[in-house]
């Protein structure tokens, strides 16, 4: 019998990026890269483990924007073109690198990976959500939701209807995609404030995840610290991230992904080959991008890089899984001696860390699951939902405002680079509430305009735009997206109040921002 549990939680999220008005759009590659490098490898490993009847329990939060993109026919067909071009590129690389045996072997490896990705994608009917739903129905994966557009809830706390809309629309979308309501929610950026749990309770959600300090600083003081959930006053449970488990994977200095044998993320042929060779496989405007074909290992901190050795990296991933388990087992043995219940270690990560950023991440997860299944004497995988079924009685406490962002609070989403967005977002939210109250009985064109207004507001609220403005990695796009959705919202609301909805304009924005096809704007009403 196990002494304690570990809950592996993978947060799958990308902002909604879909541009039918352009034949090819740079930022749509975010999704395509994540599909090839993270989502398909994860689905592949989870499915293989099920087929081998290896017992495991993993939680995946699939955000509504990601679910919308994965199930969108336009993006699906564009992904197919993307992966076919990668296959073509890998085939050319096999010819180009014939005289470099080690590199040539890697080109062949990539060709195999891309062909496999395409086969899995087509096997799912181009919709990866069908594979996730099957894993959920089989019982190995617990699927949870997130904010409708990953809106950062603590910074809209004073507009309760806006918070409720983020939560309610998310749950309805989850039900539509996966056939059942979510048991839990990944609060966007783990952003909590006292009182948000009321909206989770109303939506039928049973739990969410906090960063460690959020639970440790709850009042009254949680007697089990980080290693058991608490109930908020609403009776929705809060689980806390275990800092030790996080650090071993996240930390830039001490984390596994920085191991010298692992693949180097930055050395990509998209940046290295001459334009006459790579030009057809990067952005049409000759903007260099990651292709996914990377031939070197991290090697060290200098520019000198040695050729990537896949076998050595595979072995290292297994060793790191063993090390991770050993450390968690020691933690559990130490904790369980002082607790009158089995402790739970919550290990949440961004899913895109695995495969996209840390190429060997999926291998590490697979090794982790196999090793835990083979030896479950101390540690066993579980999900928060299962833990609550085993331990339904928990201490009641109120966590403070917190997040998992830099310094643990709201600073990353509220600072001098992005604070200008909030008066505009708040004004739009109040406007949406007024319209939902005023036009509660609408139908036809007016109803469509109101629903589209709700979509535009939700899209403008995505925490990703504020995040990117702060990181500085693609701020013009983040600024443009925020302004674009607010402009569309403003135009629609002006037309609604004037009772002069322009159907041509409405149809255009409905086609472009087609997220949440079944949204009901009345979710904003008092």
């Amino acid at each position: 019998m196990e002494k304690g549990y570990i809950a592996l939680i993978l947060h799958c999220h990308l902002p909604f990026v879909r541009h039918p008005e352009h034949a090819e759009f740079l930022e749509e590659r975010w999704l395509f890269e994540a599909i090839t490098e993270s989502y398909i490898p994860l689905i592949d490993l989870f499915t293989r483990l099920c087929n081998e009847e290896i017992s495991y329990k993993v939680t995946l939060s699939v955000t509504p924007p990601l679910a919308a993109m994965l199930s969108d026919p336009l993006l699906q067909s564009r992904y197919l073109l993307h992966i076919e071009k990668l296959i073509e590129l890998a085939e050319k690389e096999i010819v180009r690198t014939q005289k470099e045996p080690e590199i040539n072997l890697l080109a062949k490896f990539y060709l195999n990976e891309f062909v496999k990705a395409k086969a899995i994608f087509e096997h799912c009917g181009r919709n990866l959500l069908t594979a996730l739903r099957a894993l959920q129905d089989e019982g190995s994966i617990e699927l949870i939701t997130c904010g409708a557009t990953h809106g950062y809830l603590p910074l809209m706390a004073h507009i309760p209807n806006a918070v409720r809309a983020q939560v309610t629309v998310a749950c309805e979308e989850h039900r539509r995609h996966f056939g059942r309501g979510p048991s839990g929610i990944w609060l966007p950026e783990c952003g909590f404030y006292p009182g948000v749990d009321r909206f989770l309770e109303d939506a039928g959600l049973r739990y969410f995840i906090l960063d460690a300090h959020g639970l440790l600083n709850a009042a009254p003081r949680p007697v089990y610290g980080l290693h058991a959930p608490i109930y908020c006053p609403s009776h929705v449970a809060a689980f806390a991230r275990d800092p030790e488990a996080s650090k071993q994977v996240w930390s830039a200095d001490e984390g596994y992904p920085g191991d010298l044998d692992y693949r180097d993320f930055y050395r990509d042929i998209g940046f290295e080959l001459p334009l006459e060779t790579i030009g057809s496989y990067i952005h049409p405007d000759q903007i260099r991008v990651h292709t996914g074909l990377k031939y070197y290992r991290i090697t060290g901190k200098t520019e000198h890089k040695e050729t990537y050795n896949r076998s050595a990296a595979e072995e290292k991933a297994k060793m790191h899984a063993e090390n991770f388990i050993s450390n968690r087992e020691q933690q559990v043995l130490s904790l369980s001696a002082g607790m009158d219940r089995k402790p739970i270690l919550v290990a949440p990560y961004d899913a895109e860390l695995f495969g996209h950023w840390w190429f060997e991440g999926p291998l590490w997860i697979e090794a982790l699951i196999r090793q835990l299944a083979a030896n479950p004497k101390v540690l066993k995988l579980t999900t928060p939902g299962r833990y609550l079924r085993e331990y339904p009685k928990n201490q009641v406490a109120t966590p403070p405002t917190c997040s998992w962002g830099y310094k643990g609070y709201n600073e990353f989403w509220l600072n001098r680079e992005n604070d200008w967005i909030y008066p505009l977002l708040h004004k739009a939210a109040y406007q949406m509430i007024r319209m939902a109250n005023e036009f509660n009985q609408s139908s036809g064109l007016l109803m469509r305009a109101l629903n589209q207004s709700a979509r535009e507001l939700l899209l403008a609220q995505s925490s990703d735009w504020a995040f990117i403005m702060k990181t500085g990695t693609s701020p013009p796009y983040a600024v443009a997206r925020t302004k674009l959705h607010l402009e569309r919202f403003d135009r629609l609301s002006e037309e609604i109040w004037r009772n002069e909805v322009n159907e041509l304009y409405l149809k255009d924005v409905e086609e472009k921002d087609n997220i949440f096809p079944e949204i009901n704007y009345r979710v904003y009403a008092d």
Binding site: H158, G195, G338, S403, Y409
Partner: protein, 141 residues
């Protein structure tokens, strides 16, 4: 007070800072002040504001206690903001008698020292959500 005269909004940044923005539908006089209320400790102070600014970051870390506090700001007599819950500076001293009576309370995690170390580590080392994953998708040249 008349809502049509304007509005003022308060947002928490961290335990030490709040952010406020306002929209006043009348000229701001030279002696206009932003009043900051710590409602939990019943303290208030004022900061001069100008028409041009429209927003301000306010330091609020100098508090008597370490617990969570409710804050509110106002531009009197025009507008009063929403109330925000500012996080505590340290773990709660409030103990739950029902749960402390359990057979063997979770001593290690419940000790203040452990909690402070844990919180300190998180903040100091930034062992939180790395910017790298989403940012890594944005890398172009």
């Amino acid at each position: 007070m008349n809502a049509a005269q304007g509005e003022v909004v308060a947002m928490g940044v961290d335990p030490y800072t709040l952010y406020s923005y306002w929209e006043i539908n009348q000229p701001i006089s030279q002696d206009m002040r932003l009043t900051i209320y710590n409602r939990t400790e019943n303290i208030s102070w004022e900061i001069p504001i100008s028409q041009q600014t429209g927003s301000l970051y306010v330091e609020i870390g100098d508090r008597r206690g370490e617990g969570a506090c409710d804050f509110q700001v106002a531009i009197m007599p025009i507008a009063v903001s929403n109330i925000i819950s500012v996080p505590p500076l340290a773990p709660s001293n409030c103990l739950d008698q029902e749960w402390c009576n359990h057979k063997e309370p979770y001593r290690k995690a419940a000790s203040k020292e452990y909690e402070e170390i844990a919180v300190h580590d998180l903040v100091a080392e930034g062992a939180t959500c790395p910017a790298s994953v989403l940012s890594s998708f944005c890398l172009v040249r």
